[in-house]
């Protein structure tokens, strides 16, 4: 797992490095970024604390995290499968793009497709789910493109900036993922025939 690298067209997923700590601290102190994350109201983290967290994450078997780099090697965020439940064969998908210049351009969507593929094919999961804050429309668009389906709404689940916000739930099942793969393959074949 420490050597795992997954290559896409726009992004490369690679293990976290202690050198990433400074960037994480920067991103986590930006409220425009953390607005969409669960750590919005937390106190700022020091580089030392962040490095310790990264070190700990190497030994954590129930959470699988990869850094998202652009093809030219710029670190822009993290993608993960967390709370990996080996008995029920499911895990929670998580992603954030800390570098705002790379928002809304498909980097997150590709990273999502790559890790979901890994989760179903290599980790043999049956279900991957995610939660997002109802106001995260950009996230919703990306998750749909990755193949997640809406499953529910936890009303007034989060209190932030003086208001209640709903937390939305989405999920993708193994059979849906495999079906998507199959239809993608046959589309390619049909396109090639033409």
């Amino acid at each position: 797992m420490s050597r795992l690298v997954i290559k896409g067209k726009k992004v490369i997923l690679r293990p976290l490095s202690l050198k990433d700590a400074g960037r994480f601290c920067q991103w986590f102190s930006d409220r425009e970024v953390t607005k969409f994350l669960s750590m919005y109201d937390q106190a700022p983290i020091s580089i030392k604390e962040e490095m310790e967290w990264i070190r700990k994450s190497y030994r954590d078997k129930s959470n699988f995290r990869l850094a998202i780099d652009t093809i030219d090697g710029r670190h822009i965020g993290t993608v993960s499968l967390s709370s990996i439940d080996d008995f029920n064969k499911n895990a929670e998908y998580g992603i954030f793009i800390g570098d705002k210049r790379y928002w809304g351009q498909g980097y997150g969507t590709e990273a999502g497709k790559l890790i979901v593929d890994y989760g179903f094919k290599k980790l043999k999961l049956h279900r991957i789910y995610l939660r997002y804050l109802a106001y995260n429309i950009r996230g919703l668009k990306s998750y749909r493109k990755v193949g997640f389906k809406s499953e529910g709404r936890k009303r007034q689940h989060i209190f932030r900036d003086g208001y209640w916000h709903d937390e939305m739930l989405m999920g993708i099942l193994r059979e849906e993922f495999l079906k998507n793969l199959k239809s993608q393959k046959s589309n390619l074949r049909t396109a090639a025939k033409k």
Binding site: N88, K89, E151, G152, K154, H157, L169
Partner: protein
């Protein structure tokens, strides 16, 4: 945290303690009860230890449900309480199957909801329930819970994957319902 005693018409809720581990273990390993619950890898030792830990943590309240003559018939818990977001998760189990279908669960849920909304002054209770547990779903609905979603194929049991129904109740709904 150590829960306060809550009194109902037919039931009394008393804080769960490690001395209750044996009876809870019996319930969890009863196949009729386990069928609708999420109990994995349970042991007497684990139950005792988990209660000791939970009684110390701020985000937990647990009660044993007892009826007349101090007979213990089940348990009810508020877990993962988040005081910032004012949310908590409810879990209930009537372990003595002869007491199913007689309204004991709703009575316990109503007592705990009142404690949650009035005393703790929190805002939202949520829970997961197996989609095939029709009796429980009806009970929760009677207590004011709304269906909010489906965690599809979230639970693996007896060789198959089952859906979990997500339900929730908000303070404003509970207050409306309990105005009278």
């Amino acid at each position: 945290m150590i829960a306060p005693i809550l009194k109902g018409n037919r039931i009394i809720l008393k804080p769960i303690a490690s001395k209750h581990a044996a009876v809870r273990y019996r319930w969890y390993t009863d196949p009729k009860v386990a069928e609708y619950q999420d109990f994995l890898d349970v042991s007497l030792k684990k139950l005792r230890n988990s209660i000791i830990k939970r009684r110390r943590s701020k985000d937990y309240f647990g009660w044993m449900i007892s009826i007349k003559h101090n007979r213990l018939i089940g348990e009810i818990q508020l877990k993962r309480i988040n005081f910032n977001d004012k949310v908590g998760e409810l879990a209930i189990n009537i372990g003595e199957t002869e007491f199913w279908g007689q309204g004991y669960a709703s009575e316990a849920i109503k007592l705990v909801s009142k404690f949650f909304f009035n005393r703790l002054k929190l805002n939202r209770i949520e829970l997961d329930v197996f989609s095939k547990n029709i009796g429980a779903i009806k009970c929760y609905q009677k207590c004011g819970f709304e269906k909010e979603g489906v965690k599809r194929k979230a639970c693996f049991k007896n060789g198959k994957f089952y859906d979990l129904i997500l339900m929730g109740i908000l303070r404003e709904e509970w207050q409306k319902k309990n105005k009278s």
